[in-house]
Symmetry: C2
Amino acid sequence: MKTAIRIGMLGMGTVGTGVAKMLTANAEGIRQKTGVPVELKTVLVRTPTKTRSFSAPVQFTTDFREILEDRDIDIIVEVMGGEEPAKSYILQALKAGKHVVTANKDVMAKYGRELFEAAEASGVDLLFEASVGGGIPIIRPLKQCLAGNKIQEVMGIVNGTTNYILTKMTGERADYATVLAEAQAKGYAEADPTADVGGFDAARKIAILASIAFGTRLTVNDVHVEGITRITPYDIEYAGELGYAIKLLAVARDTAKGVDVRVHPAFIPLTHPLAAVSDVFNAIFVKGDAVGETMFYGRGAGEMPTASAVVGDIIDICRNIRHNVNSRILCTCFDNKPLCSVEDVESPFYIRLLVADKPGVLASIAGVFGTQKVSLHSVIQKRKIGDRAEIVLLTYRVPEANMNLALYNLNKLPVVAQVSNIIRVVASDF
Amino acid sequence: MKTAIRIGMLGMGTVGTGVAKMLTANAEGIRQKTGVPVELKTVLVRTPTKTRSFSAPVQFTTDFREILEDRDIDIIVEVMGGEEPAKSYILQALKAGKHVVTANKDVMAKYGRELFEAAEASGVDLLFEASVGGGIPIIRPLKQCLAGNKIQEVMGIVNGTTNYILTKMTGERADYATVLAEAQAKGYAEADPTADVGGFDAARKIAILASIAFGTRLTVNDVHVEGITRITPYDIEYAGELGYAIKLLAVARDTAKGVDVRVHPAFIPLTHPLAAVSDVFNAIFVKGDAVGETMFYGRGAGEMPTASAVVGDIIDICRNIRHNVNSRILCTCFDNKPLCSVEDVESPFYIRLLVADKPGVLASIAGVFGTQKVSLHSVIQKRKIGDRAEIVLLTYRVPEANMNLALYNLNKLPVVAQVSNIIRVVASDF
C-alpha cells in the first residue's frame, strides 16, 4: 500500500495556484477521503525563482521530463492551458503510465479521441471536470448520474466573460464596446477578447459536453459559432419588452436529422431558469428522456472554483489508485452520429429592420417572408429614425434555410434600408 | 468475464416501474456504457398476477429469499420504500454479498451507518442517489466532484409536495387547506400528508445530504423540523411585498458552534436562485470553500426522474463489477461533529402580530424586543381588523434563544392579542 500519492503539476497560473492552495488547506479532508496523503511534489513553471502567493515545500522545474520521468509521481495535473505544448505533455504523460487531470478545454475539444486512446492503452485515467463550467459538477453527472438516460439536449451559458458583458449591457443600457473596455479593465476579459466574445471558448465547451451527452465524438470544428459583437442595447431593450433575455447560448441537440451543435446569442424567455443566470455565473441545462429537465449552476471560472473541479478529479484518481482500478470510465463516445446542418435547424427568429416609413412597406416585407414560408408571430413598429422606421419582428419556428432566403430577398427590397440584426429565439413555446 | 449482469428488484410501484421501463428502453446505451447486458431478472411484489404497465420477460416472486439466494443476481435494487421490511432486506442483501441500490430516504437517513458497515464488511457497493432530489445528481457531486472542498452550507427545496402547495398558494392567493385538497386530488399529496407538509420527508433528505457534505453522521432525529401548515395567504402576500418568497427550506450549516441542521418555512429573497424554483421542482444549493455557490435543479420525484437516478447507480455498480472493484466510495463520515442547538442559530425573523390599535402600542412592543437585544429592521402596519391592527416586523439577525424570550414576553403584553406567525429569513443581507 502506498504511503502517499504524489502529483506533478504543469503550470502555476491562476488555476494551478488554486490547486496548490486547496491541496494544502484541505489536506486532512482529502487524506480522509483518499486514505492516503496527497502531495504536490513538482511544478513545471517558466520562472522557478518567481515570488508566488502560495508557499509550501514544492519543487519547481523548467524541464517537463523531470516530472514525466519521476517514478514517484502518479498523477500529472495539466493547468497550463492552450493547445501546445499542453497536448503533447498530456499525451506523453499518458503514454508513460501517468494518470492525468486536465482543465484544458482547447485540448479536450480537439484531441479527446487520441488522448482517450492513449489512456486506455496505458491503463490510466484521464479526467477533465474543470474543462467545462469551472467548479460546476457537469462531466461526472453526465457520465455517471444521468448515464441511463438518452440525453436529448444540453444548453448552457458556459462563458463567463460574455455573460458578464451581456448582463452589464442589460443592467446599464451600455453599448458593447464600453462594457468590453470595462470588463478588460477589471480583468474579466482578455486584451484580445476574441476567444470569448467570438464564441470560440463556448464552442470548445459545448463540443466536450455534446460528445459526452450524445455518446458521439464532436470537435470544436463541428460547432456553428457566432459571437456577441453585434448585440446592441436596442436588441436588449426590445428583448426585455418582448419578455426575453439575450444570452450567449451553447446549444446541442440530438435530433432525427443528426447532432445539432452551435453557439450564438439567443433570445431566451425570462421565465426560463437560464435567463436568471447573471454576471460571471455559468449554468448548464440538460434534458434527458427519463430525468426530464435538470440544471447545474455555479461559478464557471476563477482560481478556486476551477481548482475545486481539478482537486475533485485528483481525489477520484487517488481512490482508483488505492483500489487498484483504472480506466473505469474513459471515452464514452460509442456511436458515430452524423451532424445536422445548421440550415436544417428550426427556430423562431427575432429580426430588427430599418425600413422606409411609408404605407405598404409592411405588406412587401410580409410578402417576402410569406414566399419563404416564414410565419410572423408579431410585428412591432419601434423608433422613428429620420424618414425611416425601425421594425421588430418575431417569427414562428422556421428552418434557417428558409430564413436565409427570406433575408436575402428582404435585402433586395428597395424599402428595406438595413437588416440591423437577427437573433434566434430558444426555448420559446412557438 | 460475465456475459450479463442481473438485477433483482424489491418493489414494483412507481419508481420500480420506471426502472424496469428504462432498463428496457435504453438497454443498448446501458450495454455500451457497462460493456455487458444488464437484465432485470426477478421482482419482489405482493401480487405477481397483477396487470402492469410494463411488459418484459421478468419473474415475479413474493418471496425475498428467491432473490437473495439467487447466485445469478449481482445487484439488488430496493424501491419498496418505508423502513421495514426494506431495511432488513437491504441489510440481508449486503451481508449476502449483493450490491445494493436504494431510493429509500427513510432507511438511509436512519440506518446509514449500519448499512455502510455491512457493505464494507462484505466488500460490496451501496448507492442511493435517488434518495434525495429524485433525478437531480447531488449525492455523487457531493461525494466526488466537490470532495476537495470544505462544504459550508447545503440548502434546498427537497420536497415537491410542499413546494407545489406553496407555489399554488402564492399564485392563486388560496389558503393552505384548499390547495392541499387540490394537491391530494391530483395525486401530488398523499391522503395522509403529514410526512410532506410536516417537513419530515425533507428532514430525512437533509440528514442524508448534511452527513455527506460535512463528513459526520447525522440522522433524521438530529434535524429540527417545522412544517408548512401554519403558512397563510397573508404571510405569502407580505413576503412578496417585502421582496421574498416563502419556501419550505432544508438547511444545513457547518458552523463553529456545531452542525446546524433544520427544516422549516423560510423567507428567501426573490433574487436568490432558490426563490424561482416552483411547483414540484427541487433545487439544492451547495456552498464550498473553493467552489463558492453551486446549485442543482430538476425534478425531485416521479416515476422516470427517480428511475434515472436508480439506473445511474446501477450502471456505476456494473462498471465496478466489470473492473473488479468494489466499496470504492462507501461511508464518508470520518468526523464526529457536535450538533449546534437551534437556540444558538441566528436568523433575521418575520413576525406577524395582532395588536390593539391605539397609541403607544408600538413603543411597548419595541421595548420588549429591545430588552432581548432584538433589533428591528422594519415595522409595517398592515390591515385593520375591527379595533385591532396587524403589524408585520422584520428583525435583524438574532439568536433564536433571544427571539423566543422576546416572543414569550410579547405574549404577556396586554396590547398584543396574538402572535399570528413567525418565520425565519434565510440568505438575506441583514
